[in-house]
Point group: D2
Chain length 348, copies 4
């Protein structure tokens, strides 16, 4: 931390700040300038609380210096983390991965039909919610373990890996048995008990950014998972909250190249939640890929207008096929291979 | 929901929208104007998904009409909810309640000393965290059940009620044994599994507003608790996230009179988290009371500069006494009695 | 500025940063810690651009230290600025000033009737817009100089001072002839040409905070006026933009005590624009006074439902009288005298 | 507007709302549902003020329906607006236009050198500020007309068109004499006097989005220009303000495809201001193109580390050449031709 003094701070006020630094166990490092004095704190291992300083006489401001996350940072580990799934899909290794499927698993037929379609179109991971966190207690809450079994069946049939959300300890126990990737949702980004539990799972975890989380808070939340021993973490940008209600969220595309610089973890974009509007999903998928995303996660339903949740941001199957065409053009123009589904190849 | 058509929408496009409304089981209610057609949906019990409509040809926009929360609303119940605690404190009944204490319980001495001070100064509820949700996995995480026992001892000694945070199912089991009010924190506002569990507790629950939660989302989160049967819910405004880092959060004082109009539940303000800056806590406490808050929750520590968390927003004991003086002046000027602690009266 | 290096930055990288500091004409001030090196820049008079540093190899971040505003700060001038108007009203001198009147001047009768009412109720400054900045080009744009003449007539009749908005150079020429205070609106907060022109006016200026301005940007905008020689500046908090549309804006009440600490200029609150909702104006007026505001500015109209602008946030005359009662109770409880209008006293 | 009643609103309350609608000159259109009554307003030409309704007894909420902008909308004009500049550059016609140059014109050599470089790399429009709006009154404010003359010289030499900012009436008079496009900056987006003046200019105008403007406010600001008769308007997305300071602004890439749907005007992206960080400019340029932008505007300087403004977000010449390569790959993959500079072709 750096403590900046007022330009007219007295020598006594400066001494009092130094004494307070010594008092809490660190060393003061004075840094005079023409207009004012600043005093650094050295000897600390982590962040220092500005509390004892910010309202001392003569203090103008306190500035944090040490970054709080460690294991998730590029400083800690320079090379990209690559996560390999049972069906051969590799996330973070320079290829583009597409995850797709319905918002919620609603029935065996609905899921299988959608899964077959997205596999043929080139997705290698199937998404689908069996446990749904909903703003209203009166909304559809998901099929639970039945839904997970349907996901597993779709996996077998279509050569996919599966990703699905866990919303608490109980659902996480089940999800880690069935899924290839455990999804932690935006509203649970700072549910630290759940992050810790996911950190003790053998399965990869995809951590969505909270709707008003800073980049730093998001990386610190991932740090909770790594700190428990699970290194297989995927970050997912899904839109942040802004003042404009023209879209459901504001997809923070810039977070993609920024986080790729700060961290070695793979970053996936979710333009379905990020925009909330069907016609914006394909252009924003192309944008995310052009910005360097390692993957996309897209909501697709055989009949979005009858979906039990998120219908307005869910693509029709043929729209998803079209989206894949555009995404492939961009990815390949930039030299990024798009992962292919062995099932789709076999059918072709 | 109301579907607004473009001014030049064709009769066929209008018919298609009507047909889609019938298709999903409701009735269209056309509402022509000079410049364009709008079509209402009637017959629905809850909110209708705009998905099937918003990108139909000729549709300009879809507007939600039905409010999603029910039991928390003034429409549902006109009279104020009043919550009575074992020590006689009443929250929501037109008197002002002050809750105070350290951010974290750190030791028996620290807690008892602070508790005695806040009781003498007029607080009737003791706050103190035994389970701490922290942004960083490397920060102090609380004393757990030991801390709860210290809280219980302080309650006996100083005639206080106690409030403390639960962060997951395990800690909630413990907290509901010891505490008079279970606190659910801002980051858990949409941890729906935890909300449901709290809804099955016999103890009152104080639900903090999430840092980027809308008023509607906050009330819907409370609805989760009421929907499970627990009617004793207190809402706590603790500051929202804005673009300006001059303060830790932006205390949304306006939310106090607004929520009092929308809901029958009591509303408490937290100017410690709401500002994050010691010198701003007293003026903002007065402001919250002047705006109609049913209570305040304030961080106080016998020595804030040595606090293990939130020191910079924690008051010294004498600052808290001073704050109480200002708050009393405002409350009494507006005809709001300030609750008094029997212990303090007895000592006086 | 402080340049923080990565924990594993090489000595060469550190030397390169130092060399760059020398290159731009300043001195490097190294500040080692156990985990990393930080390098301060000294010798600079104002803010240093982080550009040449932030993407140098080994640099983790660049942190601004010097505050950019000078004359508006408490460091520069410790005692409160007090502004005296021709009718004896003093703003910033420890008393509470109330400004009230219609959003727009619509007719002589409307203005005089409203002016008489607010004067009797205790306002000492009459507000009213003759030049209206409107989001839509098709909305009512004000009466112009005719409106100013009506304001001047109301001033004579009811012992008021008058405040009205200037929106460009032309309107400012007129406004400064007629008004006692020139108002600069939120959308013009960074219209630097207009700020400069107002800085050369002999009349006091009230500068509204921009809807997404930081405290720092607001103070820098005021600095433009002081830098041209006009020291009579009043700051007006009128609500900031947040993600929640439950209110028109979010009145940042905390800005009041915060700005009073950072600056010597008086601060006025505008709960009409700050909330946009009639029933919230009185409680938020009380809150602003309890937080330490030097004044209030309130929209009142003899018949708000027929107002040409802002009707939904405008009080009926009797609601304003009631508001004054509540505000007086809070102000007097806190020892703040409320300014009185000689006309009202004379009538009483 | 639609007025939604409480579910238990009485028939009298409903009648009172209807009567109020008639009172202000429109017709009520009742729209009953199972749970509550809603009442539409018909017969109005523009937006209706919710003021007279929102706090009537029994009213739950008032919902705006009519969109306020007209001439800028796709409803008004279905085909894309295409703007042709003297050097043959066409904006909005399905090709990609790149504008580039220094933040500020600092000297003849600096400008010509940079202009030559960006022309060779493929830019067809030269940007450069001669009048600079700066947050601080003590920062460099631009060379004024001298700068414009240097821009004109660069235009002749390198076959470019030129774009430069006007900040008030005086500078606009000059800018429209010299420039091919008049730029109106983000802080002036709601400087309505300036918008009107630009609406009477024969030159095309590029209107930057305000840092906290909604899409609707931005389009309404453009409407001011069209309403005065100038149809040649280009919209420029330059980043919005969010709660995260990790980047200078949050480039709202989604605004690009969204505004292309709502309006017929061309949309350009500014990733320099949109990110504020040099290494993020190239990936975000590619993202904007992939999302459908009609153009880019990029800050380039022969030596950014010595730039008088915005150095940290300004590219070195060779970085700009690299950016063009990536942008061309994406544009061409999507079938969008990139405009070419005749000078560059001639040199090749």
């Amino acid at each position: 931390m750096l403590i900046v003094m007022n330009h007219n701070a007295s020598p006594d006020q400066i001494e009092a700040v130094k004494a307070q630094i010594v008092e809490i166990g660190f060393q003061p490092c004075p840094m005079p300038s023409d207009t004012r004095m600043a005093i650094g704190i050295v000897g600390n291992d982590g962040a220092v609380d500005p509390g004892p300083f910010q309202d001392l006489p003569g203090v103008a401001s306190c500035i944090a210096v040490t970054s709080a996350y460690k294991q998730v940072s590029r400083e800690w580990r320079a090379e990209d983390t690559v996560i390999t799934l049972p069906n051969g899909t590799r996330i973070g290794g320079g290829e583009l991965v597409v995850m797709a499927g319905p918002c919620s698993v609603e029935s065996r037929e609905q899921l299988l039909e959608t899964a077959e379609h997205v596999a043929r179109a080139g997705a290698t991971v199937l998404r689908g919610g069996a446990f749904k966190p909903r703003s209203s207690p009166y909304a559809f809450q998901g099929l639970g373990e039945e839904g997970l079994k349907m996901m597993a069946e779709a996996r077998e049939k279509y050569g996919l890996a599966i990703i699905t959300e866990a919303i608490d300890h109980e659902s996480l126990e089940l999800v880690e048995q069935y899924a290839d990737i455990i999804q932690l949702g935006a509203r649970n980004m700072q549910n630290f008990a759940l992050l810790r539990r996911a950190g003790r799972s053998p399965k990869p975890v995809m951590l969505k950014r909270g709707p008003s989380a800073t980049i730093k808070e998001w990386l610190l939340a991932a740090e909770y998972i790594l700190a428990e021993g699970n290194q297989q973490v995927i970050l997912c940008e899904r839109g942040i909250r802004s003042y404009d209600e023209a879209t459901r969220n504001t997809l923070d595309v810039t977070a993609i190249p920024l986080v790729k610089r700060l961290s070695h973890l793979p970053v996936v974009a979710d333009p379905s939640h990020g925009t909330g509007r069907r016609p914006l999903i394909a252009p924003m998928s192309r944008a995310a890929v052009a910005a360097g995303a390692d993957g996309l996660i897209i909501e697709v339903h055989r009949n979005p207008d009858k979906a039990k949740s998120d219908g307005g941001q869910t693509l029709f199957p043929e729209q998803f096929t079209e989206l894949m065409t555009g995404v492939r053009l961009v990815a390949e123009a930039l030299g990024t291979p798009v992962q292919t589904n062995p099932f789709a190849l076999q059918q072709a």
